[in-house]
């Protein structure tokens, strides 16, 4: 076959299909119309498709274009027939590509998303949620937590004071003491909450931020329990294949004091690397005694972490201030 014959045959088939559909009785059912159309076109369409390969290579592009146009023309003619049919029968033809009538989508703050996820994992490991006041006494914030008075350890916490012995808590750890004073062991609680530091508000610091504390106290609770529970948390939070390690650290209210590092990819192209996720340790006997429990009988472990830091690395936020600005264009990115 030569190109001009091919084009003429395609043109003829299009004409025949249109003529068929135009000539049908308007009461014809759509499936009947389709059957007649197929009977007319199928063999001729297949033949044209097969003939493409028989054409000289330089003609194939033009022929292929004609073939595609033919198919579109037939489909359009069928659509038009269907639309005439619908109009005639009184049913509305609806453009279903139009958008839904949407309602506003609410959003949970990214820091809350992280806290909720952490709480959910620890709930499965038997932890409930405890809360405590943000305005605290020096005793609950420091004294009961084994901070030596007038010692450089206090300088790890730049404190906002409300009065002589009252302050804005610098960590959620006072909740440990309040919980041990109020609830008899066994204790397994998480304490998320706002804490305060005397820091400038810049890209990496905020004078108020969320912290999340955990505490487990009972007879026979050991460092192995600490490791096992926190490593299990890390695997559920970051993924089952993540490596976890524990190294030494210092917080006056725990001993041995440790930090947990997890091997994570921060998405900066540098691949996997160890990142400190939380501080932890065995609750110091002085803290257990301060809360009115017998430290020979009861032991326990505690940890603390910063959900805002985790939210920042998880969601790729590089300036902490956007978490506070409350710009709806930021918040609504976390819409459900």
């Amino acid at each position: 076959m030569i190109l001009s014959d091919y084009l003429a045959q395609a043109e003829a088939l299009a004409r025949d299909c249109r003529a068929l559909l135009d000539g049908l009785d308007p009461d014809t059912r759509l499936d009947v119309a389709k059957g007649q159309l197929n009977a007319l076109k199928d063999d001729r369409l297949n033949a044209l498709q097969g003939a493409l390969r028989a054409l000289p290579p330089e003609d194939r592009r033009a022929a292929g274009t004609a073939f595609n146009t033919l198919k579109t023309t037939i489909q359009d003619a069928l659509d038009a027939f269907a639309a005439r049919l619908a109009a005639a029968s009184g049913t509305e033809h609806v453009d279903l590509t139009m958008p839904a009538r949407r309602s506003w989508r609410g959003a949970v703050h990214p820091v809350t998303l992280v806290i909720d996820e952490i709480c959910e994992i620890f709930r499965e490991l038997g932890f409930t949620v405890a809360l405590g006041p943000e305005a605290e006494t020096e005793w609950y914030n420091f004294g009961a937590l084994n901070f030596p008075a007038d010692h450089p350890a206090m300088e790890l916490h730049d404190t906002l004071y409300l009065g002589q012995d009252t302050l804005l808590r610098t960590h959620t750890s006072p909740v440990q003491v309040r919980t041990m004073q109020r609830n008899a062991p066994p204790i397994r609680v998480l304490a998320p909450g706002q804490v305060y530091r005397r820091d400038f508000f810049d890209a990496t610091h905020a004078p108020a931020f969320m912290q999340l504390e955990g505490l487990a106290i009972d007879e026979g609770v050991s460092f192995v329990d600490l490791k096992a529970t926190l490593a299990e948390f890390a695997r559920r939070f970051y993924g089952a294949t993540r490596r976890v390690r524990f190294g030494p650290s210092y917080f006056p209210f725990v001993e041995p004091g440790a930090q947990m590092d997890v091997e994570v990819d921060l998405g900066d192209g540098k691949g996997l690397r160890w990142v400190e996720i939380l501080g932890c340790g065995m609750v110091h006997p002085n803290v257990i005694e301060a809360a009115g429990l017998d430290s020979e009988r009861y032991t326990g472990w505690a940890f603390g972490m910063g959900p805002a830091r985790i939210a920042m690395s998880r969601y790729g936020i590089n300036d902490i201030r956007v978490l506070y600005d409350s710009d709806v264009r930021f918040l609504e990115q976390f819409a459900r």
């Binding site: 450089p152 192995v224 529970t229 524990f246 650290s249």
Partner: protein, 814 residues
Amino acid sequence: MIVSHEWLKQFVPHTRSADEVGEALSRHCVTLDGIESLGAHLRDFVVAQVVEAGRHPNSDRLWVTKVDDGSGTLLDVVCGAPNVVTGNKYPFARTGTVMPGGLKIEKRKIRGETSNGMLCSARELGLGEEHDGILTLDTTAAPGTPLLEVLQVADARLDLDVLPNRPDLLSHRGVAREVAAILGGTLRELPLELSEPLSELPALQGDTGVRGGQASVTLHEPAECSRYVAVVIRGVTVGPSPEWLKARLESVGLRSISNVVDVTNYVLHGFGQPVHAFDLARLAGRSIHVRRTREGESLVTLDGVARALPAGTTVICDEERPVALAGVMGGLDSEVTDATMELLLEVAHFDARFVRRVRKAMGLNTDASYRFERGVDAGDTLRVARAAAALIVQVAGGEVVEVLDAGAPPAARPAVMLRPARLARLLGAPIPDAVIAQHLRALGCEVTAAGEAWQVLAPSWRHDLLLEVDLIEEVARLVGFDALPDELRAFRPGTAPDHPVHLASRRVRDLLVGQGLAEARPMPFTATGGTDTPRVINPLAEDEPYLRATVLDTLARRAEYNLSRMQGNLRLFEIGNVFTPRAGRLPLEETRVGALLMGARRPPHFSEPEPPAYDRWDARDLAERMAAAAFPGAAVQTQPRSVGDDPGLLWTVRVDGRAVGSVQQISLDKPVWASEAFGVEVTLGVMPSDDLAPPGRNAHAPAERESGATRAVTYAPLPTTPAAEIDLALLVPDGVSAETVEQALRRAGGELLEQVALFDEFRGAGVPAGHRSLAWRLTWRHPERTLRDKEIDGRRARLLDLLEQELGIRPRAL
């Protein structure tokens, strides 16, 4: 704490890499913030010798030289330095070498003469500012030797995050001790590079003071300075330090000043013991008095600042006046200068709390005060003094002529008992007895068996080993936390229930997110306050020193922030705490939820291009739903404001009759295009802050849990008979509230009245002035039979009669 890898090797000779040492420390001792390789940028440079140097034919400033770089071929190199001398050796960058600034050296022509590389100045190598000429190397190394083997700059800096419990790690010897304990190896008490033997001159001793032939020391305040060793060295020559000493200081980021001053810094960073050198000739009466200041005394410190000294501060004085801030900084007048020939070297022990007080009072933080505040080894003062003196003699000459030792070494520490069974219980895994003893001994503890336990005497540099648990931690970290098992073991559930405020917060958050609101977590401080808001007494930023009294106030500021960014469709909420001051107690603290609505009620749609804006009625519904979510099962009411209430207040939210919040119209600083803003604030609960029990006591009580039973709804059987409805349009005079009418309708409607619903309000044509038309739909239903039309008509007539009589209300004629 910056630690030099090469310096560590002075105390614990080993062949491990800096990375291995850093890894060992971070796993067993201290957090490693990073390792910086020093001199790595000089790896490609070599020593080269200039064999021939002649004037450049086309320049008066340039030289054409022949350079031997050890490759076997002499290279033509053009050089612009005035100090190029035939036969001397210089640092050489071959072609292909990348300079510290990033420039790659290539073969090129300089004014017609070919140059195959570059002879370098100190500044070009990043080794200082010297740029008067190329760096002459005083070395016997053959041409071609890597430059790093000649210059003592190849090193690695370990940045250790030393926390306040471990002041013993604030020195190279201290860190080396840990390296030896972790990796094995023998700790040297003195560095390898100290070649001068320690003076064996006996120390003159006295508890409160000591007078020698050359100088005297008197301790007037033993509580603040318990020990003062003074070494007199005569005949020193103050001058530049040798290269090895300069390299040590530079490796930790210090600048070399003079041999004597450099030794004091070397001892501080090497041994952790601050040392001060006085020019003895400038100490009046050749004496040291550690005494309290008198009225009006002052001191010009080494930093050149004249400081008034508060009376009663313990300082170092000579016979007449203060000469140093004890434990913090020396004085300018008695400083060592080039002319100094006679030194009094101070190696003393100052009380940690005392130094902290002085440092804070003076606002002067130094390497010395930093160490004294955290605790310096009081058991090694005399030996460190002798080592410091020997180093000075080694680098500055002279002779130790007198050693004065005033005060007393610290009393022996009490022994601590360590029970291996307790250790096993706390760690969750037993550690063999021998391993326990071996690790503690490696740290310098004296360990002896005492029945079932070990009796442990901590070394003088470990102030932190006071309790059994302190020793357990030492063993655990040396064994390695990662070596302990980590299998999940059985646990008992806790007794503490979820905090009710947490549960309420979650329910309200779910509701609000479902309603299309976005959660905000703004900064909770406010700029304005008064007697009714607690104030932070030491705010860092004076613009927001107050704790807030309401959440809506914070949300209003956030709304303004959004409006200024052209965002007018706002649905924000926050759950957070607010504060009210209370005399003599912590502030009253409440957890509240605040919600703010403004702008379009829905996103625009082709069926509704301009959706209506939120109004007060949306806010009222939201308030009722928030209260219901926060207090499940309770009766929720929104009560209209009364006369005299704040005009911004619309409704008070009541739960079982108790006021828990409000609905408000919020006044904002807003642009003309913005809609009205409405807010809801509901208190979820009080956060008790009183002491639960005195220190050391508990107040255990059975937990109160929310029970599902209290929230149960009673099922009403579904009706089996049809309802009868009528619509009633009434002309209600202004001043009569819809609620009043509705109550009358309910009263008069009889017990079969099932529902009363207001569905229309209208003013205008057909409604007399001073009235509005309100329309209600009333539904009656008899539980057993269908109500007849006559019965409904009768009820309607009775209702209209009653409304006319009681309220003067007539039906609207249609």
